[in-house]
Amino acid sequence: MSGTGPREAIFPTRMNLTLTKGRLKGAQTGHSLLAKKRDALTTRFRTILRKVDEAKRLMGRVLQLASFSLAEVTYTAGDISYQVQESVKRASYTVQARQENVSGVVLPAFDGIRSKDASDFNLTGLSRGGQQIQKCRDTYVKAVGTLVELASLQTAFTILDEVIRATNRRVNAIEHVVIPRLDNTIKYINSELDEMDREEFFRLKKVQGKKKRDAEKANDERGKQNAEFTGKGGELHRDEGIGGGDAGGADMLDEGKDDDVIF
């Protein structure tokens, strides 16, 4: 009964019973709340999962296009990679993180920002192929936009994955560890209290029995002593109470009743 499973190390008192019951209720509420949170997150997670899958496939095509336009540039303007690499100063395409809240989980999302003075490579392709380079740059900006979008999805995916795992762990811990333990504690306290009750009842019975036995013994003893005393010729006086004795107890008012007087 009380020995099954782990339980809290507390004394089996009524106060602790109330406390433990309160905690069990709290654990159950927490469990249902966490389960709800998990469900909400999982729904969101599935949407993101699908989007990630789609976006990854889309990215393949977009970058293929971008590669083609770069090939065009190489064809018209020659190899510009060295020039491009050397003229890098500050990033003109940056990202900004924005935060989104899904049931208490902060999901970051990135926004691509292209600064106005995006003219680092003005001199590139001045001799020939300038237009191709412009076009290529636009294609790549678009491609990077797709990549940024995909990155936010992926970050959300990673974070959600982590959070869902943590939530799942908590839900399972409450369901399989905390609640059974509190249940066991309550059972233990109840059984201990019951046992204490039974013990108390038994003790009272015992005390009563002992008193009865003692009274009988004392009575017998007295009877024996009396018999001994009268046997030696003594006279026994009993406290016979008011109107006492065997003859006592008659109604005084009934004695010597007058006859009814008839005029």
Partner: protein, 121 residues
């Protein structure tokens, strides 16, 4: 949740590890950045580049506090696959991108592998 302790708002840059064409294209879009210490946010990998160089660049970019997204060519990622697969942090987000010579293979992507596993197909 140790990965989200640094403020994501500080992260503004994109970093690239890839072959010459991919990097050139992305730099053309304006993601390139050279900071005060002449540290670049891109690495060009060719056949002669040592794997250890790629590894250290990967470590460097993932540990930088201003990088939001790290782009890496899939065939480059393939060379340091164990490191890439071990990388689980949310920031910077790691994206494997296809290159000109190497078309995109979803089966190799470390994130898509997890996606596929979770979707159960």
């Amino acid at each position: 949740m140790a990965t989200t302790t640094t403020n994501p708002k500080d992260r503004t840059l994109l970093a690239v590890i890839g072959d010459e064409d991919s990097v050139t294209g992305l730099l053309l879009a304006g993601i390139g950045d050279v900071d005060k210490n002449q540290k670049k946010n891109f690495l060009i990998v060719d056949a002669k580049t040592q794997t250890s160089v790629i590894e250290s660049a990967f470590q460097d970019f993932t540990e930088r506090k201003d990088v939001a997204i790290l782009l890496i060519n899939q065939h480059v990622a393939e060379r340091i696959r164990p490191t890439v697969d071990r990388y689980q942090a949310a920031f910077p987000a790691l994206l494997e991108i296809p290159s000109k010579e190497h078309p995109y293979d979803p089966a190799k992507d470390s994130v898509l592998k997890r996606v596929q596993k979770l979707r159960g197909d």
